[in-house]
């Protein structure tokens, strides 16, 4: 490819980088749960949890257990009505 073609390609790439907006960063479930724990005023020591276990009962309530980077394990209860509570284990 000649130099003219390379220059055109370079310009096209540069323009595309400027004009095309980058996709919004979607949070992961681990980050989401860590944020929820911190939003309830509990210390977590990081922005992502590990060892996530999730259980859902017949009434629609969800119980999530997760471990924060600081080693603390939490229980997150999500009621069928959408109420969220966090309890340290």
């Amino acid at each position: 490819m000649n130099t003219f073609g390379l220059a055109i390609r370079g310009m096209a790439v540069a323009l595309a980088m400027v004009l095309i907006p980058s996709g919004a960063y979607a949070v992961t479930k681990a980050e989401d749960i860590a944020t929820t724990i911190m939003l309830r005023g509990q210390p977590c020591g990081g922005n992502a949890v590990t060892n996530i276990s999730e259980q859902k009962d017949a009434a629609g309530n969800t119980v999530i257990m997760a471990t924060c980077p600081n080693g603390k394990r939490y229980r997150i209860d999500v009621s069928s009505g959408g109420r969220v509570s966090v309890t340290p284990l």
Binding site: T3, D32, T36, L39, V84
Partner: protein
């Protein structure tokens, strides 16, 4: 040929500079347009606090609940015998709570559980307002407002990756507060 490449690079740089200038101008125009609105909102807020204080003072004297909040444009706070008009601002005219809620639901910047937690907090504030109306405790409207401001601050921090929505929520602060006050008991 090298000269052409240099010219092309300069063209790209010139374009980038133009884009930045356009964005800066847009931001400045937004700021200029929003400045009077913000001032008007602050004035309305101060008026609301003053009227709330008046209602609180009357509560202590009479000890009968009579603080009902109306919601229409040119809203009226019933302070017993006299009705105090609350000025509506430019932001309230174009404020759409349902659209804002939908945008928060659709935003990828906040996870599902975090959204549920924020919703729980918002429902708690609505419950506090209902308790305030029933005069069930000694919590003043200013204390409820402080809780609301705290929650809004959390939302704005969480929406760090969605600056447009964050700005719109920040601009609609008074409208959201009035919408919460309008929730039926």
């Amino acid at each position: 040929m090298m000269r052409f490449i240099l010219l092309a690079c300069l063209g790209v740089l010139f374009y980038l500079c133009n884009m930045q200038t356009v964005f800066a101008c847009d931001g400045a125009a937004d700021a200029v347009q929003s400045a009077p609105v913000v001032v008007a909102s602050v004035e309305a807020d101060m008026g609301a606090i003053e009227t709330a204080n008046t209602v609180d003072a009357k509560k202590e004297e009479v000890a009968t609940p009579h603080a009902s909040m109306s919601s229409e444009q040119g809203a009226v706070i019933d302070g017993g015998d006299q009705k105090i008009p609350v000025e509506t601002t430019a932001t309230e005219k174009y404020f759409d709570m349902d659209a804002l809620i939908e945008r928060i639901k659709d935003s990828n910047a906040i996870g599902m559980f975090t959204k549920l937690a924020l919703r729980s907090d918002a429902l708690d504030i609505v419950d506090l307002i209902k308790v305030y109306r029933r005069q069930a405790n000694r919590m003043s409207l200013n204390e409820v407002r402080a809780r609301f401001d705290g929650l809004l601050l959390k939302v704005l921090v969480l929406l760090d990756d969605d600056p447009v929505l964050s700005r719109d929520i920040s601009m609609s602060r008074e409208g959201i507060w009035k919408s919460l006050l309008e929730v039926k008991a």
